[in-house]
Amino acid sequence: MSTSATNAPSSLSEWLVYWRIDLQLLIALICCAALGLFVLYSASGQSQTMVFNQGIRLGIGLVGMLVIAQIPPEWFRVAAPWVFAFGVFLLVLVIALGDTAMGAQRWLDLGVLRFQPSELMKLAVPLTVAAYFRDRSLPPTMRDVIVAAALIAVPVVLVADQPDLGTALLIAAAGGFALYFAGLRWRVIVLLILLAAAAAPLLWFNMHEYQQGRVLTFLNPARDPTGAGYHISQSKIAIGSGGLFGKGWLNGSQAHLNFLPESDTDFVFAVYAEETGLLGVVALLALYCFIVARGLFIAMKSQDTFQRLAAGSLSLTFFIYVFVNIGMVAGLMPVVGVPLPLISYGGTSMVILLASFGILMSIHTHRKLLAT
């Protein structure tokens, strides 16, 4: 560290290393975010205000990401349990005195800004699990698995109780991926999947009525074509009518004539698919896959168990966002509130996402040159 301060960077690659930037990840993210602004301009009915707001958030997020990249990964490992504990405290606080928005207690009004503690947990949970396994021998013992599972279960239950099933599932997935990379035994994984299938009815009876409605509507969209099924029918019409090459930017009639609800947030993919067609969808998925692949590459290259598990689980979580969102909009799974990463309009989730890429960059650029 001290030597790099004296040796000013002379070439681009040195400069990038100096500022802890992973150029490939950065370009991919900026491409994705820029695409997102174009889609948002169309989906919002050509609202310059919304594009401007989103642009500002993107800027803040990107700057935040680069700032985070400067922090050595060790610091995250040390901070993770504390952030985790603080997050759990906030979740309890939200339940005690949270703001109610859209029928769910998710927000904590901090005076200046309203803050969603569950978003923080998307980062804190995988990092804490990764930190836990840092000093244990892998594959983990049964005792370690149980401890890690408990670390995941506490925030998941609290978030699910808000109720925010989508975020709870994402947190569970993020923690689960860390456990998976730690070497959770295959037979345990199979057993868990079987257990989850067996627990589905139990989950069903513990769901809120609106959640049950979403599942029913997913299974049969004609059940309520003007209500909940309307989202899915209209988004399928939007995607399907896009065809191979799409209707062209700003020409998607489904969104512009207001047939598609929430076209700028959770359902923005439908607008994109309507206007750019299969070609655009494949291009976007390729971009996402590149980002995930880069993340997994960074994980493989990292030198420490914590870094490996953290980078791996954050990358897979990013993919889960993509899969759940597109799967939902395309009618493959029930409607859960998961945004399309870097494209959907919205602040918190994007900032958290970019923060996770900041951690990836930090992990990648703080490698020590090992003599081999």
């Binding site: 070497g183 399907g240 698919a273 493989m300 791996g312």
Partner: protein
């Protein structure tokens, strides 16, 4: 920490991680494959379907129904009018929960139980994609209230439209007819493309027979709409073509006079202009209010009309088949002259009855005491039955049938109004075909005085008088005088179709029967002299008829129960034309169970002709529109 590090096998951990990453990458590829297949399924395989759905979403074709043509009388008096009205329509196909929609709707506009009942009745009979009115004639307040809440009611819409109104009401109900809601059956009979957006179709009368010309052709407007159904811009526009306006041969003033003249009787009046065949007035009583049917008649009103024993919906002028009685005697007399069966001067002894060889059945004259010696003229104006019985024996049924047919009896006149009946002009062939029995001589006697199997409709009798008035030439009865094309504004007149002329061997024979008919009203012993022939300021020829309804047993006294008596009373008939030299009007009057033809039907015919000849100003001047 150092201790833990010692236990950790870094190389093994790295291998484990690489394996896990490879497996995760593989699963990830499968999941991406799932997403791409799903999107391909939607965008490639099902593209056509979703493309259509998207277009349906975006574009709405609004059908613009045509304005129905108006119906006027010969002087431009409106007989069928269009009035502006707002109605609330529901397209059943677009409503998921009809009961819920209706209960929410009833908080905004008044929906009575009767409206509901009528609505469901019509929904059952209407294709599901077609709007059915739930409320008609909305007030401005209700229109405004609905417009505000319109977004909450998919499939429900306000329609500004025109509704049909019949200013003459019952007076011309059977003639003009009425329009009503379009049923699936109606649609199967017409080109249903023309009826997209229409609510009414002619059900009877002129509205029915000229439906295709009155209706016009719909236009359409393709508009882009947003999700709340608001039209954003017009993409395409085809204006509708209004239906033709019809001008009838009817004289509304005479129609009203005939309606009044019938009074409380059940019966019919048909007046024809012999020079054209144009129907001047055609009335059937009792009548009904045609406005009731326009926007869907309620069940209660409909059952009342159908259940009424006097059958107000039955058009007696066209559908009623009655024995013509003595009104056919002039035609029979002409047959006698033309076939050489009798000479007009020849006197015949009329003792009040006749018997046939081999039978002791008495064929009676209506006048028990008989008429004594009568020649043909006297036989007509005194209406001697025995004279005609004796004539019939010489004529035979074949000649009677032939001459009856010549005057159009037993055949539909083909007037341009629906549901006409043919009546029966019996013959040997008819009886063999229908009864599978030979013709008996006694039946010839019944037929010659318009009884027995013989039945005619009032319009047939009017056509018959018209032929007598025209001395063998006249025109097919019709009600359409002219039609105005709304596009070109051109008035196209109907060309009267001549009837097959009746050529006589001796044209003077016309004079014989016309003289007989004149004497009916003008000779002091004429049957109608007292009832019709007084204070005439024009020349009038007529003939009465009293048609027996039920044959009484030979010496049976009539039952004395009043209503039974009424039911058994003869039908009263009278035919007439005037003036004799240059006839302008030919009239047939029928009064069901009226009793005497001269005393009951005669004065009605006289009133009608008086009204026709008087120079009264046209009524309802404000409603007029001269062609």
């Amino acid at each position: 920490m150092a201790v833990d590090d010692a236990i950790k096998n870094h190389a093994a951990e790295r291998r484990l991680f690489v394996l896990r990453t490879v497996v995760a990458g593989a699963v990830l590829c499968v999941l991406v494959g799932v997403l791409i297949s799903r999107v391909m399924f939607l965008q490639v395989w099902r593209h056509g379907y979703y493309e259509t759905r998207s277009q349906d979403n975006r574009m709405r074709v609004q059908v613009m129904p045509p304005v129905r043509g108006l119906i006027y009388d010969r002087n431009g008096v409106v007989l069928a009018d269009n009035l502006p009205a707002y109605r609330l329509e529901i397209v059943p196909e677009q409503v998921d929960d009809m009961d819920r929609t209706l209960s929410r709707l009833s908080r905004i506009v008044e929906v009575r139980a009767a409206d509901r009942d009528r609505f469901f009745e019509r929904v059952a009979k209407t294709p599901r994609f077609r709007g059915v009115p739930i409320r008609l004639n909305l007030s401005q307040r209700e229109v405004a209230r609905f417009e505000v809440n319109r977004g909450d009611f998919p499939g429900v819409d306000i329609r500004a439209g025109l509704t049909r109104h019949y200013p003459l009401g019952r007076v011309a109900a059977h003639l003009v007819g009425y329009v009503g809601g379009i049923t699936a059956h109606d649609l199967s009979l017409v080109n249903d493309k023309r009826y997209r957006g229409s609510n009414h179709i002619g059900k009877t009368g002129v509205e029915y027979s000229y439906e295709s010309r009155l209706h016009g052709d719909p236009g359409s407007r393709v508009v882009e709409t947003n999700a709340s159904g608001r039209s954003l811009r017009e993409l395409e526009m085809n204006r509708p073509t209004a239906g033709e306006s019809l001008y009838l041969t009817i004289d509304a003033r005479l129609q009203s006079a005939a309606f009044e003249a019938l009074g409380d009787n059940d019966g019919a009046v048909v007046a024809i202009d012999p020079a054209t065949g144009g129907v001047l007035a055609i009335v059937s009583k009792p009548s009904y209010d045609p406005d009731l049917f326009v926007d869907g008649i309620s069940h209660a009103n409909y059952s009342a009309l159908v259940g009424d024993l006097r059958k107000p919906l039955f058009n007696r002028a066209l559908q009623g088949q009655y024995p013509p009685g003595s009104t056919v005697k002039p035609v029979m007399a002409l047959a006698g002259l033309e076939t050489g069966s009798i000479d007009s001067q020849q006197k015949v002894w009329c003792p009040g009855y006749i018997t046939l060889p081999g039978s002791d059945h008495h064929y009676r004259d209506w006048k028990r005491s008989g008429h004594g010696w009568v020649d043909m003229r006297e036989a007509i104006f005194r209406s001697s039955d025995v004279y005609f019985y004796k004539l019939a024996l010489k004529l035979g049924i074949d000649n009677i049938h032939r001459y009856g047919e010549m005057f159009g009896l037993g055949e539909r006149t083909g007037v341009d109004l629906p549901r006409e009946n043919s009546g029966i002009m019996p013959s040997r062939a008819w009886k063999h075909g229908n009864r599978n029995l030979p013709w008996y001589p006694g039946e010839t006697l019944n037929t010659v005085i318009g009884q027995g199997f013989m039945t005619t409709t009032p319009i047939q009798l009017a056509q018959m008088v018209s032929l007598i008035a025209g001395r063998g030439t006249s025109f097919k009865p019709h009600v359409l005088r002219a039609a105005r094309n709304p596009g070109t504004g051109k008035l196209v007149k109907t060309k009267p179709k001549p009837l097959p002329p009746i050529e006589l061997k001796d044209r003077r024979h016309w004079q014989v029967i016309v003289d007989g008919m004149r004497a009916v009203v003008s000779a002091p012993r004429g049957t109608a002299y007292h009832y019709v022939g007084q204070n005439l300021d024009y020349t009038l020829a007529g003939k009465s008829g009293s048609a027996q309804v039920a044959g009484l047993a030979q010496h049976q006294a009539a039952p004395d129960l009043a209503d039974v008596r009424r039911q058994l009373r003869d039908h009263a008939l009278f035919i007439a034309f005037a003036p004799i030299e240059a006839p302008e009007i030919a009239v047939a009057v029928l009064v069901e169970h009226g009793g005497g033809g001269s005393s009951v039907a005669g004065p009605i015919a006289r009133q009608v002709i008086d009204a026709f000849r008087s120079e009264q100003p046209v009524l309802q001047a404000s409603n007029t529109h001269r062609p």
